[in-house]
Amino acid sequence: MDGSNDWASTILVLLILGSFLLNFTDIPQKMQLWRYSSYIRKKIIQLTEIEDESKRKVIKYLSRLNVENPRKVLEGFIDNFFMISPVDIEPTDIIRRMRHLIRTRDDSIRKYVEENLPNATLVQRQNAEVLLEISSVLTLINKIVKHYFQLGLKYNNWILMMQLALELQQVVRLAKAYDDAMDSFMKGTPIGDGAGPLVAHYLKGDAEPVEISKETVYYVTEIEGRKVYVIKAKGPGSTVGWPGEAVEKIINDLGRSVSRIITVDAALKLESEKTGEVAYGVGAAIGDPGPEKIAIERAATKYGIPLDAVVIKMSNEEAINTMTKQIFEGVRKAIEIVKKIIKEKVPKDGIAVVVGIGNTVGIT
């Protein structure tokens, strides 16, 4: 045998052996499982760090407000206050049931924070609520990731492991965004989601607020010679208010004399879109689970009032973190669009209702 024949047969043997291992054993899958699980383990450590960091932030914030046992307040909050969605195979009344559940939950959280932070101001309490909620969400995210990880290990489910590993990059990024968002709420700066309330703030001018629903105010002002009711959550604490109920009340008072309802809100951008882009369309621009949105739609439909939507686009992360300059410039553009709609579509003696939807933290 010469040398070339020798290595050819070696390669042939290797090929046959290799294809046998690849096709008729679980070794490749086991290797994948091992590789993906070690990657996930690393990411879980990262998620745990983020979770601990968020807890430290809450405790720091609460101790700054002279809470006696901040750790106990935090631990009493996490894992509690979940909400079970209403029955949906019998949809009659589902909105009323859902609104009832949401408000019950909000009330019990408010009460919990009030009891534990008796000396804090309203704004501090509202911001503490959000901080507790974020910390709670981060704990939940970590738990869910660990759940799927352990399931995958338990049943040697390498597909589950692979899916989890592929998703995790995004999950960790979201968790980081939530953690960073806590700084915004601790400082009390406006966030991206505050674009709607900020538009309302600029439109209202010097008008005085009138409380109409819980944590929700309206202003009566004049824009382009038309009478305009501007609705927004009451700032500068962290709250979204009850804009749907506020619109319902105002429309029921004013009836057909309203010529136009304009909702302004932050909207999730597509990856290819730029932050701060502004677009307008038809409908209620509001991202609540349902009750507030349907209240606006019903009020508009009842009197046949056209419903306009103006949205300012941003990513998920930008929506919960300190407002960026691009979003602020988007707010400027949105104001011009709202004014244009009022000028072109509301008659001189007509009334317009403008609703700034979103979290009003850092904006009066």
Binding site: S4, K176, A177, D180, T189, K325
Partner: protein, 109 residues
């Protein structure tokens, strides 16, 4: 002449090392860009404007003092996050949350 087997092994090794080196380089984080939270002030009377770094307690619509020009009410007009390159007077910057910067998926698991 080199043994063909050695050539194959060397080629495979070279490929693996290059692959690992390239993905290690990709995964290196980009340096933090400096950003700062800016508070923009405006006089409600004469329109005089001013910018400074955000201070805790600032909120949009807050009255922060008197206008140095006409003595009118100086209000917080806007608060936003801005890259520091454009604002020389605010160069004593704070660092930015990492998540607000684009992160690349390195594709390594």
């Amino acid at each position: 002449m080199l043994d063909p087997m050695t050539i194959v092994i060397l080629a495979v090794l070279a490929f693996i090392i290059t692959y690992m080196a390239v993905s290690a380089m990709k995964s290196r984080q980009e340096p933090l860009k400096k950003k700062v939270i800016v508070t923009q002030l405006k006089c409600s009377n004469c329109g005089y404007g001013e910018r400074r770094e955000f201070r805790e307690g600032d909120y949009v619509g807050k009255e922060v003092g008197e206008c140095p020009k006409c003595g009118g009410k100086l209000l917080v007009e806007a608060i936003y996050l801005e890259e520091v390159e454009g604002i020389p007077e605010l160069r004593s910057a704070v660092s930015v949350p990492k998540s607000s910067q684009p992160q690349k998926n390195t594709g390594r698991y």
